[in-house]
Symmetry: C2
Subunit: 868 residues, 2 copies
């Protein structure tokens, strides 16, 4: 007979996928002698079977009765016993934490008969009827589908009738009356009657919990948090204990350390003579946990001992719920506590210092993706803030900019005027996607944590304050109204996506100080990781920042950004508008000087570390204006008519520019542009090398799809460098970006002409999916909503599709050239799951933006430890 | 010692890759007793080594001398013997035929001394000095790089001086004088002197032939004809024989059968007392080969016997060169003769009837790609043609249309006015590529067979007449001037790309009758092939055509073409401009009626054969106008302002529409559109099935990249069909187009939700390469010129890249579902090499345009035979 139910004496912490996190921990606590009210757990397999078939497995009913009997024997009480009824809770609990997403029922086992037994047994009729009332309400809501509001209304009405303000003022009689009214509400709204039989109550509750696994809230929670591959939820049935049985009773929650800072001391709060929900409801102010020592020293000591034991046992900071029933302590739940990045780092280091965990374990304890919190610019702490509104902290980070009210204005301001903007909308929709890309941050007046704006911004890693009810957005008039204040387009505000604050004016930002523990953790990470970490940096400033964060080289230096500089764009345009190679030669010569200076500074900053420089990639039309007025302006500048220039601009325009005349295709048709860039690199490298720096330049050809493209350009690059023969005093390699699917599929050929590969997973992902990032908006929100996509494949490598292509590439490439250097420089390179994938793929390095370098260092160490 | 040189007694026909076609056949002829002037062949390996290193392999000089000695012994003459000199020819000859592309030198061995020996030996001083003159000229031109024109000028001047009109009037003395002048020309133009030593002459000639392997002509010929993978050219050194030694001498060429029709009789011509070049030069009119019987019966009989022997030996029609020297017949070359498609079919069938070859061999004899010639519409033969000019027949086929002078006008006329156009240009350049795509045919006044227009048109399979010198193109004035005739934009002309004729007015076209032999060959093909052949057809008319050509089903029926019909486009636009599902429902209902009628007729025509119907694929903006004026018109029609409509149109516009909101992405966001189509299919199928036809509908979801897209839409399709439950009386499958790289990489998953796969290699190729077909023009001609691409990957499957992806797809797909039906419906499906690739991949069918069905049938049979 397959086992579907485990008593708390049978399970253990290793059985999370079967018993859920809560169930596994209740068993584990029982096993190590922590006082836990007894109970049993129905496995996630039952949920899976029930969800798929609508039925329970064959022996389930039998096992349920058996476990119930064991529970009754242990508690010396019987379910439904009119003299001394056993009361239980029925709680959900999946393998991954999904707080508040699924349903719970407390005080199960009460009916008109058993409640009398409870009265007698406790001598507390008010307690008994209040418990009964709560049970009927929860059961009616969760199991029978009667709106929660109806019960709340009845409660309010009752209070009005009797003239009381607080629930606690109601007497046993009032509550008894209320139970009757609740049952009438249920009878009028549901075709079923409220079941008296406690076993029927239990079975119906189990079913309700199972069904709650697929309620919309739970599904969207799993989607947002990327929780996949679970069977379902387990159900925990546990004897009730009560913290509201008098002054020798109480309830509370506590962390074993401070979850904000990591400081080692109990951090929590409690209430005497109260139930768990009272602590949360905020009617009475909870008391700091330290006060418990004064109120009840023996219980406090017992709690200290238990929490200490749990922390040592789990080797991690614990988040614990407890109840004191008539002077007896029970622990109801323990789990690894959620913490800020700061706390995570400190706790990991201190647990190591305390000898509880190894360095490897310490490294695995910190969620690498959280490190971002510590690194991203934040509003300067000392700054005075004029907070004008507060919304939901929908996507962390901070941003300052001029407000705009639609996508087009955002694009105009950013692209044409180089302004930073905050996009303000009632709510966003897919049409806003371009504007969202352009903006520094998004502010919406409607929508919650799972609104379009919130989901998309978190996906983009962009700051967002959503559902800011205090503001009125008038998009037509382009006005943002907050009370008496009216902000017009162009007004400057600052958003804090971590607090939800909307602040008037520009705020100074700061890069937070990195703590000593942070530095230690990074040093440990470096001991274990085998992946090198480089950075994507186009300027000496970015290079410096990245070095500070531990970058070991530049994995991607994009040269085109240098072309947009005001002093250069004219030259670039002159080059593009020239009729032939001869006409291009003069502007190219001048551009070469500029580029040489750029590279010189970068080489100087990076020292002997490798610097991968990608030759010009974007299509030329990106350097030309495209609005009527800016074309007219430019035409004047170049002594041509607007119509002439328009012909040129429209001639360069493409139907699908992403798949058009760019990358190495440009290099092949305009070799003089690449030659200019190679000369600039060579001269810069020679100059810096003379100062004793061992410059190491990696010249990268973009968008290669066939080996012949690479061979052709490799020859041009080599010949150009060889113009300086006899003077070449630096190391260089010539390689290629791998961003076209065909490059992966023919990597054995391409490797013949490449000293290195670097995966450009942005374009590779777009081409592998057939997605254009610019046009994704029209369907991607629908895709996420329907679960067709779990996550944005631009944020984390799609291991099944793009990953398989990368795997083919590495295998074919290394088959041809065993020591081929292979890295990745796409945006995914800073995503911990992607870093682990790259580690397992055997890449040499990942290259990410400077701020993500520490994330990548830690993720690389974790990957190395996990996959040893 | 590695063997680099083979005497004609050592080689054989199987050694083509080493000895070249000519060399291998000279050996073979020698072996079977055909009278061949003796000689030897320097292998292609030597060319390869010389090309790569600039040097000859070690033992080469030794082997050359040895073979020369053997030749001297055999001919009883010595090279450079002043009394009786051995004269030789030095000819190129690669494994693939490249007529006229590389260099040849005749009469080698002559100098001021040996010419005297030749005079004495032949008693013919004029012959001797003419041979000498020709040798010096060829050597000067080919080996020493002195312009051919200078020698021609000197010859002309000499004729003027002595007052003769024809070369043949010049006496020995004149020719001797000319040799002196030729040498002076060489001395003045070259730093080297004309070498007297015959061995030095020979070595220099060998080197020149090797170098000619990579001359621009030869390279571009190989590129156009897709000749790759060869080592280089072989060099054949052969004793000279002379057809110009008197009336008992002569020279000629003959085919063993008529290469135009295939009729079994010698087909050729000859001249007595002449050299090969005289036959070609056209100074004297050659005599039909049959006349030889009257002039010299014994020689004619000998020739008949030899050609008959060769045909039986090679089991194919032969193209033979012969020379009669003083009454003795020599054969100088044999090869399988080039032939028209008509001849190829007839010869293959008749060789089988004669018992010379098997059916398999007969099938392999016909070049499948040539069959197109027999099938494509041609100008009706009986029609009277007003030929107004004749250019080069640059790309076959015939086309009628209105003339336009630039790409934009072509696009406007075709896209907006639905006209057929002929694009007329001085010469085309990459910017014209859109216009070329739009046009029915291309006419240029400049450029040759390898011009941009010619190369691109052949790649596109589009009719082209190039280099039509008789016309003047004034693009600015939009006038085409032919003598006194001036044609303005819009005038109708017809091009015949097979003859180069430009004809005034519209010509009636005809589909040629298919001969009995053609039908037999097709029947044989069907016996051997294992691949099924379907057709891409959107209309009942196309379906009928394809059935006539042997199609076994429809592999791709595109539904969007039906949307463009005048009676429907209004409804389509109404649907697109509707604000929600409710607004779409009315136009969709009407569209459903139309679509149902379309499908009904197609099902009726196709009977019980499978019909694959692809649901809507293109982005919606393709159905809306995009010029100012047409937007204004449409706005009026829909009672909105032009500005309102413009907002909608520009909202639908995409940066990269190819990678945008189309295919299944549309189906997922607008499920009602797909539901409408499925209802139309279902109702049509039910109706036709009632008439006793066993309808078999394959419903195809386009652009799937993840299995979840397919699952989602498969459910919708199924639910929609199930609306008719109880009435469903036809067979159906639900499958997907495989056109996104990710679909191949995750084919195991996708197979779970698919009853069939069909490769859409057009889009798959574009995404795998990262090419947009629309934007290819800006760099593809450069790519072809530089040899970065051998061929247009849209025309023939790129086996290394796209092919590898297809291979992965088939393997993963069939691993999940062993009997998964997999076909291909991209344009490459009609290309013989691609058909063979698909056969080897184990596909179930290929689906091509109706006219290519016979090509595919034959190619599939050839693939099956070759890969048995």
């Amino acid at each position: 007979m397959k086992k579907y139910i485990y008593s708390f004496r049978e399970g253990s912490r290793g059985m999370k996928s079967l018993l859920g996190g809560k169930g596994a921990n209740l068993s584990e606590m029982t096993k190590i002698g922590i006082p836990v009210p007894f109970g049993f757990t129905i496995s996630t397999e039952v949920c899976d079977i029930f969800t798929r078939t609508g039925e329970y497995p064959e022996s389930f009913a039998e096992q349920l009765e058996e476990n119930l009997r064991l529970l009754e024997v242990s508690m010396l009480k019987k379910l439904g016993d009119p003299k001394d009824p056993l009361l239980v809770s029925v709680r959900s609990g999946a393998a991954a934490s999904m707080p508040g997403m699924m349903d719970t029922i407390l005080n199960l086992g009460l009916n008109d008969e058993t409640v009398k037994g409870l009265v007698k047994k406790t001598g507390n009729p008010r307690f008994a009827y209040d418990s009964y009332r709560r049970f009927v309400q929860m059961f009616g809501d969760v199991v029978m589908g009667v709106s929660h509001d109806l019960f709340e209304e009845a409660l309010e009405q009752m209070k009005e009738e009797v003239g009381f303000e607080s629930d606690t003022d109601l007497t046993a009689e009032h509550l008894k009356e209320l139970v009757g009214r609740y049952k009438k509400i249920i009878a009028s709204k549901s075709s079923d009657e409220f079941p008296k039989n406690p076993l029927r109550q239990m079975k119906a509750s189990i079913e309700a919990v199972f069904k709650s696994w697929n309620n919309p809230r739970a599904r969207s929670y799993r989607q947002i948090h990327g929780i996949t591959g679970l069977l379902g939820t387990a159900v925990n049935i546990q004897a009730m204990v009560f913290g509201n049985m008098g002054d020798d009773s109480g309830t509370g929650v506590t962390f074993t350390r401070n979850p904000s800072t990591g400081e080692k001391q109990l951090y929590g709060e409690f209430l005497m003579n109260a139930q768990g929900e009272d602590v949360v409801a905020g009617i009475r102010t909870p008391i700091p946990i330290q006060e418990l020592e004064k109120i009840n020293k023996p219980i406090f000591d017992e709690l200290m001992a238990a929490t200490d034991k749990l922390e040592k046992h789990y080797k991690d900071m614990q988040d614990i719920e407890f109840t004191i029933e008539r002077g007896k302590l029970f622990l109801l739940q323990t789990r690894n506590g959620k913490r800020t990045a700061e706390a995570a780092v400190n706790i990991a280091c201190e647990l190591f210092d305390e000898g509880l965990i190894t360095k490897e374990e310490a490294l695995l304890k910190v969620d690498a993706s959280l490190l971002n919190q510590l690194l991203h610019p934040q509003i300067k702490k000392s700054a005075e803030k004029n907070v004008i509104a507060t919304g939901l902290p929908a996507s962390p980070g901070a941003a300052t900019g001029k407000i705009v009210f639609n996508s087009d204005d955002a694009t105009d301001m950013v692209a044409d005027k180089n302004e930073k903007v905050i996009l303000v909308r009632k709510e966003t929709s897919p049409e806003d996607i371009n504007g969202m890309c352009m903006a520094e941050g998004i502010l919406t007046s409607r929508g919650g944590m799972t609104s379009h704006a919130a989901v998309v911004c978190r996906g983009m890693g962009k700051c967002c304050v959503a559902g800011c009810n205090g503001i009125v957005v008038n998009a037509n008039a382009k006005k943002l109204i907050i009370g008496d204040m009216v902000l017009n387009e162009g007004a400057v505000i600052t958003l804090d996506g971590s607090t939800g604050e909307v602040i008037l004016g520009k705020m100074e930002m700061q890069i937070p100080e990195l703590s000593e523990n942070f530095q230690r953790l990074m040093t440990w990470a470096d001991e274990f990781r085998t992946l090198k970490i480089r950075t994507n940096a186009d300027t000496p400033g970015d290079c410096k920042k990245a070095l500070k964060f531990g970058a070991e080289g530049v994995g991607l230096c994009r040269t085109e950004h240098m072309f947009f500089d005001e002093s250069r764009i004219h030259l670039v345009r002159k080059m593009i508008l020239a009729k032939d190679e001869k006409g291009r030669s003069e502007p190219l010569k001048k551009l070469q000087e500029f580029q040489s200076e750029d590279f010189e500074e970068i080489f100087r900053v990076m020292g002997d570390k490798p610097v991968t420089i990608r030759l010009l990639d974007p299509p030329l039309h990106e350097f030309l204006p495209d609005t009527e007025s800016s074309i007219a302006d430019l035409a004047k500048e170049f002594d041509m008519t607007a119509d002439e220039l328009k012909v040129i601009v429209s001639g360069l325009r493409e139907v699908n520019p992403m798949l058009g005349h760019r990358g190495c295709r440009l290099g092949i048709t305009y070799p003089d542009i690449y030659q200019m860039q190679v000369r600039a690199i060579t001269e810069a490298a020679m100059k810096v090398s003379k100062t004793g720096v061992k410059v190491c330049a990696e010249i990268e050809i973009p968008l290669v799809g066939t080996v012949r493209e690479l061979e052709f350009l490799r020859n041009i690059v080599k010949e150009t460098i060889n113009e300086y023969i006899g003077k070449i005093n630096f190391r260089y390699k010539i390689g290629t970006m791998i961003e076209v699917p065909r490059a992966c599929l023919t990597a054995n050929d391409i490797a013949k002409a490449a000293d290195f590969f670097s995966f450009g997973t942005n374009d590779l992902t777009q081409m592998t999916y057939g997605y254009s990032r610019d046009d994704l908006g029209s369907f991607v929100s629908k895709y996420l909503e329907l679960g067709i996509l779990d996550a944005d494949p631009m944020a984390s490598i799609d291991q099944d599709g793009v990953g398989r292509l990368m795997h083919i590439c590495v295998e074919l490439g290394r088959r041809e050239k065993a020591d081929l250097e292979i890295g990745i420089c796409g945006e995914q390179a800073g995503d911990p799951a992607s870093v682990e994938f790259c580690h397992n793929l055997g890449l040499n390095y990942v290259s990410c933006s400077p701020f993500r370098v520490p994330v990548a260092r830690l993720a690389a160490a974790q990957a190395a430890i996990r996959n040893k």
